[in-house]
């Protein structure tokens, strides 16, 4: 591989596959992520997001295909690669036996960093994570959001070039989530390459330059969030709740409706203007409806379906 290519291509996979019990959980994935990109991976539960990330750090042997990270072939160079990446795992694994500060210190020692270096970095990172006040606290005394911020700070102890985050904000309240977002934006500004998985469309929409929608181990769509909404779906959605069959029949006469879906007692009409349908609704006494621009969630549902995934 050319030096130039390895500089800009942080992640490169070709036909990367992983099978569990004969079933492809990651299926011939071709993925290239350039330096400085903030890449979001969206997908329902079981789509293969975590498995993909685990392959990136060498925690999951691949069944076929090729993968290189930072220009180094995986999994042979996993240990070397991990010197330059940071990982925020889906499940917290902070060290409950240690204080906040010690968590950073001990983790840094695993990278072979010296005490002197770590003293300084610990201070910087506590500040970055807004945890200076909690430096001496036990992990059990931290809120969910603080734990996540500490896990993030810990992942930065080795000054990584690539940061991998597996559902970093799942289970957090809106304030805590926004605090994490703000930290991630700062990191992006510093030129770090980030890969994040999430269930929250809003998160991907606000943070990422590039969104990959994944389902059943395959890439369903891959573009900037705005492009995705523009390219994959009609511009507007009309949601009508609990309408009678007769009314729905009338609404469906609108020739500008491109697509129609029913989920429970909600009907979704997709299209550009939907003038006729809106007129019908205005004239009827039914006022339980919503007309809005399409968003990433609509794209997601279109690509991955409405079925529940457990």
């Amino acid at each position: 591989m050319h030096a130039a290519a390895s500089q800009s291509e942080i992640v490169k996979s070709t036909k990367l596959s992983k099978l569990y019990a004969g079933k492809a959980v990651v299926n011939k994935l071709d993925l290239t992520i350039d330096s400085g990109c903030f890449c979001g991976i969206l997908g329902p539960n079981g789509a293969g997001k975590t498995t993909t990330l685990r392959m990136l750090v060498g925690h999951c042997p691949m069944d076929s295909g090729e993968l290189s990270i930072l220009g180094l072939a995986m999994p042979e160079n996993a240990s070397l690669v991990r010197e330059s990446i940071g990982v925020v795992p889906q499940m917290d694994n902070l060290d409950a036996d240690f204080s906040v500060e010690e968590n950073l210190y001990v983790y840094g020692r695993f990278f072979g960093l010296s005490s002197v270096v770590l003293k300084e970095r610990t201070k910087e990172l506590l500040e970055f994570a807004s945890l200076e006040e909690k430096a001496k606290c036990k992990i059990s005394e931290l809120s969910g959001g603080m734990r996540r911020r500490l896990t993030l700070a810990r992942a930065l102890i080795n000054k990584p070039k690539l940061l991998i985050l597996d559902e970093p904000t799942t289970g957090l309240d809106p304030q805590a989530r926004q605090a994490i977002w703000q930290k991630l934006r700062e990191l992006k500004k510093q030129g770090l390459t980030l890969i994040l998985t999430t269930h929250y469309m809003e998160e991907a929409e606000r943070l990422c330059d590039r969104v990959i929608v994944m389902d059943q181990g395959e890439i369903m769509a891959d573009a900037a969030p705005k492009e995705l909404i523009k390219g994959e779906i009609e511009s507007h959605v009309l949601e009508v709740h609990a309408a009678s069959e007769a009314l729905l029949e009338q609404l469906r006469c609108d020739s500008s409706i491109a697509r129609f879906e029913k989920s429970g007692d909600i009907c979704f009409f997709y299209g550009e203007k939907l003038n006729h349908a809106l007129e019908v609704l205005e004239e009827s006494s039914h006022d339980d409806y919503l007309f809005r621009p399409a968003n990433l969630e609509d794209v997601f549902i279109k690509l991955t379906g409405r079925d529940l995934r457990e």
Binding site: V57, G58, H59, C60, P61, A78, S79, L80, R82, E83, V87, P89, M91, N93, L94, D95, A96, D97, F98, E102, V106, Y107, R109, F110, F111, G112, A155, N158
Partner: protein, 260 residues
């Protein structure tokens, strides 16, 4: 990277794991050390005194002196086994500490070796406490007893590795009871801790001689009581062989369990 540099890196990373463990231990060193001193004192005084009245001399030693070396070896076994099973399992499954370590340049082999080093250190701490107690009780013959420490460490390495093999296939803490009940306890009863094994039927003697604890005791007892050391290399060889075979197997199995 040269071979030497690679070995050095392996040791340095294992050592960083060992440091993490000793850091945790030092926070609770007080109660932990009390256990290390308290238990052997109780065993030696109660069993040595009480049973000693009936038993009289064993192999030319007071019963308490005979027992002390057995208790030392047993505690090395127990300390390393507990660490290699309950504590290691907690870090592997419950707290996912290992997974955290594996997100750094550290590999499975280094995690496992770090655990083994630490568990053997626990054996060393525990045996040191027993030696101090034994010295106070006048059960130590001479300075040769200091060589018990490296033997205790080796015994710890051996039993920590065996315990990690068990841990590598454990589904819950209950699983460890099989190993304790079916392996450790019978071995302790049959390896010459409480009585010399030549009172046992021949077949049972052979069984105890293929298990590592007997070999630890064969080294520790003469070192402690000033007796004659025999077959030193054989004893060391058995402990080292069990240890390295188990460590290799444990690494292989834990890798399969975590990296899948």
């Amino acid at each position: 990277m040269s071979k030497l540099a690679r070995v050095w890196l392996f040791l340095a990373r294992s050592q960083s794991i060992w440091s993490r463990h000793i850091r945790v231990w030092s926070k609770l060193a007080g109660p932990s050390l009390m256990g290390n001193f308290g238990e052997p004192v109780l065993y030696l005084l109660v069993l040595g005194y009480g049973l000693g009245q009936f038993v009289g001399e064993v192999e030319g030693l007071t019963y308490m002196a005979f027992l002390a070396s057995g208790v030392a070896c047993t505690s090395a076994v127990n300390a390393a086994s507990f660490e290699g099973m309950y504590s290691a399992y907690t870090r592997m499954e419950v707290q996912q500490t290992w997974l955290g370590m594996l997100a750094t340049p550290i590999n499975v082999g280094e995690v496992v070796f770090g655990e083994i080093l630490w568990a053997a250190t626990k054996s060393l701490i525990s045996v040191s406490a027993i030696l101090i107690v034994s010295m106070v009780l006048g059960l130590i013959a001479d300075g040769w007893a200091l060589f018990i420490l490296p033997v205790a460490f080796l015994t710890g390495l051996c039993f920590a590795s065996l315990a990690l093999v068990v841990t590598s296939s454990a589904k819950s803490y209950d699983f460890f009871l099989y190993y304790s009940t079916l392996f450790i306890t019978p071995m302790v009863l049959l390896s010459g801790v409480f009585f010399p094994i030549d009172t046992l039927p021949n077949a049972v003697q052979w069984l105890s001689k293929v298990l590592p604890l007997y070999h630890a005791i064969s080294l520790v007892r003469p070192l402690m009581t000033g007796g004659e050391l025999t077959s030193v290399f054989l004893h060391l060889f058995v402990l080292a062989t069990f240890g390295s075979a188990a460590a290799t197997l444990a690494t292989y199995r834990i890798k399969k369990r975590l990296i899948r």
